[in-house]
Amino acid sequence: MNKYHSVKASVFFCIVFNSAYAADYANEMDYFQEFPVVLSASRLSQPLSEAPNAMTVIDRKMIVASGARTIAELFRLVPGMYVSYYKGSQPFIAYHGSTDQYARRMQVMVDGRSIYMPPASTVDWASLPITVSDIERIEVIRGPAAASHGANSTQGVISIKTRDAGMTAGKSISFTRGEKGINDTTAHFGRRGDKLDYRMTLTYSADNGFDNLTTPPNGMPITQRKAVDLLNNSNDNNRMQLANFRADYHPNSVDRFDIQGGFNHDIQTVGWSDKNPNPAQPRNTNANPPHDQFTNSGFMQFEWIRILEDNAELSLRYYHIRQDQHEAFPIYLGGMYLPGPATQSVKSGRDEIELQHTVPFSVTNRLVYGAAWRQDKINARGYAQAFALIRMPTSYSYSSSTDEYRLFAHDEWRITPNLLLNAGGMWERDSFGNKNTSPRVALNFHLTPQHTLRTGVSVAYRTPAIGETRLYPLQIGALFVPGSIVSSPGLTPERLLSREIGYLGEFPDLSTSVDLRLFSDQVSNGIYASTIQPLINGMSAYYQGMEATLKHEFNEKSELTLNLTHELANCDIAALKKAGLTTTTPASPWIADVLSGSIPRNNASLLYTQRLSHDISFSSAFYYQDSLQPYDRGSLDYQPIQRRMDVRIAKGLNFGGGINGEMALVVQNLLNKKSTEYVAQNVYNRRSFATLSLNW
């Protein structure tokens, strides 16, 4: 058979091959065929030593080695990242220590799509229409990057990149079963073609959340009544079904269309049994009893990328996100159930268009600039018959549509071969009347090609969430329904000034690389709980610290990543309290400053991988977190030192006939060190699960 007959040349500009090849010999086509530009500017990420910020990359290999079942767990591998849980499937991720459960000071993106949603400006990780196995890599910028990533990029930016459409060919299915109801099934299939690649994922995932406490947290003496409630943590199950697809259409060598969509249907148990009526307190009131919360979320995204002359690139992206949540629950008051359930629903949506032009002026200078428009919509409503008893309207609702415009430009200029200047800025305006300009300048100096010093200054702003400006006086249930009246008028964006010095070193002889960072971040005009109105601007806070990442390759088969963080924080909340401006007090008498106590002073994570034979691999992750007092929780939720070790062992399988697969066992918290999360009921005992995957 003449296989060379099937060769199709990509036609580019005027080079046209018009003959069929008559013989099955190697021919000159191998040398003269023109290819599409594959690794264009938008594909190529900046090397760490040239990026204007400190950056952590979690690649596919690390994702697998970590044994993580959920996306949020992966962020423990980022220096200085605080990962904790409000409920079993309500993780939150914050840089610079604990916050409240909404952690709204970071930009989070999936393939360039901003996924923190109103009204609380938070990410609902459980209802994302992607799974861990869809992720190709995660880039985390530690520090503000509003200049290139827009609003909310104050503390950092999480950028999740899912697998390219062409990266999945064939079919695969994996089954995971484990303790605590872990039951996941994921199927992937995809196809590569001359002009169209596509892939699709179908997932079902379920688990029963955290374990129960068996003793009162932190050895605290608590009443029997309290203990009964606290020790019960059976109401945090999660059940999720999702589907997503990605297609890459490349009709010619200069245009590429990236088309994505996804849908997630999630049911999770929310609410608390703390205040449930119980024998000790029969007349207790509970406006948030254990109940189901239903979420449907979906997105569509279209991106057109065109390669222009001289390696310039133009991209146009549009996406739409929609998240609908609802819940229904009974209210128990004064020893009786009130008639009818209370119901609440929150629908939020986002549309964004972004146009970006990348122009390499020369080998030494490249400019990226663009403009974007975003519209966020929210429609939240609630109904509670019980409100009539306290002369409040039984129906309440809030809806809004807000627009945001931004212009941005970023220039990367290699002044000399050793000196790189990154300078840029973003200007944004929203329909609340906020106008912010966020500049950033960073200098990278290569002492030698292997050793780089970086220093940078940037300013970023965080626009208050709708939830912060419109607190409804009676928050019931698990969903956040904003009030129709502005509860905190005049709230303006928080400002962050960040300064840093970084060092990146490569030691090829030692197979080691080092990434060090010293930072000083200063928040001004910070939002805090006040006595004047629910929230007000005016708090100042300081964060200083050091972060280090060390990567070492022992040999071809084993490698290690080590992250260390030491961080201190303080704020002027004590002075504000003295002036009568706030009622915020540290949860514990031994903590002087509510902010300084909310930060784990030292933090470490370690990931070790070892290939034991050609088809057996072993990996282990270890996480350490100093004790802390979660920022807005009481002393009962004090988090003692966390030490957790996860291990994964996997064996490749080959059934012949093109069918292969893998059998993997993951044990999380192998040493069974008892530790609690942001909410003390959330205890994660040792648990294991096994995964069987088949590919064909």
């Binding site: 005027c14 021919n27 000159e28 690794l39 090397p47 390499p360």
Partner: protein, 314 residues
């Protein structure tokens, strides 16, 4: 196209003696005034046209040429020519079968040429200027851009008839280890690719259009990029698409070399042994180098390093 710089230079060691000889010939004006070359192109697309243009430009004016722009127009009538220059595999195959004249095959892969001439009676004269670079030159390019002891992955299908042993020794002469990965079957490309990427530090493209086709290149480049493994290409097209670098010869280069060889033939009536390209160039993709955290010399530096190392033939 300013981000990839081209640089070409004459290959003195090999060509200078021939040139000197030619200068002598021209001044003594010993060309038969009726020396006639028939140039047969495989087709009329740009590379062949470029070859024909340079070939004619570089030839002494006294030599007469007739151009057949598409091999389909070649009837077997040699129009009383003294030499046939065939450009590309198609033209070479057709002409070799029909003519008894001496044939100089240009822009042809070395293995294809060898198979084609094997069918021709030994009594007839033929020679070639290959399109592929000598393996030693490829290895020297790798030496110029990669650290020592790197493992060089080579993925090839059985049909490409890759001279594995020759390549292996050329690579080991430069301190590299070759990771040989034959393609199992047409559907196993990406499994085999993943396999070879797992144990290599760089992937060396070889002429094999089962693997390196325009429809596969996207995913080959993306897979290797995911693992931070550079692809070493075969042409400027590869480098533009995202390969780290390539050493290659353009139709102009080969046209120039063919005209030198033809002029020599006009005088001596003897064709030399088949030759690898004497003129070549290097292209580098600095953006890709930067992203892969590879510090790479400029194309000019690499080229002069290659030129110092070796001659034009293997």
């Amino acid at each position: 196209m300013n981000f990839i710089s081209h640089y070409t230079r004459f290959f003195w060691q090999k060509i200078l003696p021939v040139l000197l000889c030619l200068t002598g010939l021209v001044t003594s004006n010993v060309y038969a005034s009726d020396f006639h070359i028939l140039v047969v192109l495989s087709n009329s697309s740009t590379p062949y046209q470029a070859f024909a243009h340079t070939f004619r430009k570089e030839l002494p004016e006294s030599i007469k040429t007739t151009l057949i722009p598409r091999v389909e127009l070649y009837s077997g009538d040699d129009l009383q020519a003294d030499l046939v220059v065939t450009v590309g595999v198609n033209a070479t195959e057709v002409v070799l079968a029909k003519t008894s004249l001496p044939v100089l095959a240009a822009m042809i892969p070395s293995n294809t040429y060898e198979e084609l001439v094997a069918k021709r009676p030994k009594s007839r004269q033929n020679s070639a200027i290959y399109l592929d670079q000598p393996w030693a030159r490829q290895a020297a390019l790798l030496h110029a851009v990669l650290p020592e002891h790197s493992r060089i992955g080579v993925l090839h299908s059985p049909d490409s008839r890759l001279p594995v042993q020759t390549l292996r020794s050329a690579l080991s002469a430069q301190g590299f280890t070759m990771v040989d990965q034959p393609l199992h079957d047409q559907n196993s490309l990406f499994t085999d690719l993943e396999q070879v990427l797992t144990s290599s530090n760089a992937l060396l493209a070889v002429p094999d259009n089962m693997i390196y086709s325009s429809s596969n290149i996207r995913n080959i480049l993306l897979s290797s990029y995911r693992r931070s493994i550079p692809l070493i290409g075969l042409s400027y097209g590869y480098v533009r698409a995202g390969a780290l670098c390539a050493v290659f010869s353009t139709p102009d280069h080969i046209g120039k070399q063919a005209s030198t060889m033809s002029a020599s033939f006009a005088q001596t009536r003897k064709l030399p042994e088949p030759q690898f390209p004497a003129y070549f160039t290097v292209a580098v993709n600095p953006e890709v180098a930067r992203t892969l955290n590879t510090s790479i010399k400029s194309a000019e530096e690499i080229l002069s390093q290659l030129e110092k190392l070796q001659g034009g033939t293997q």
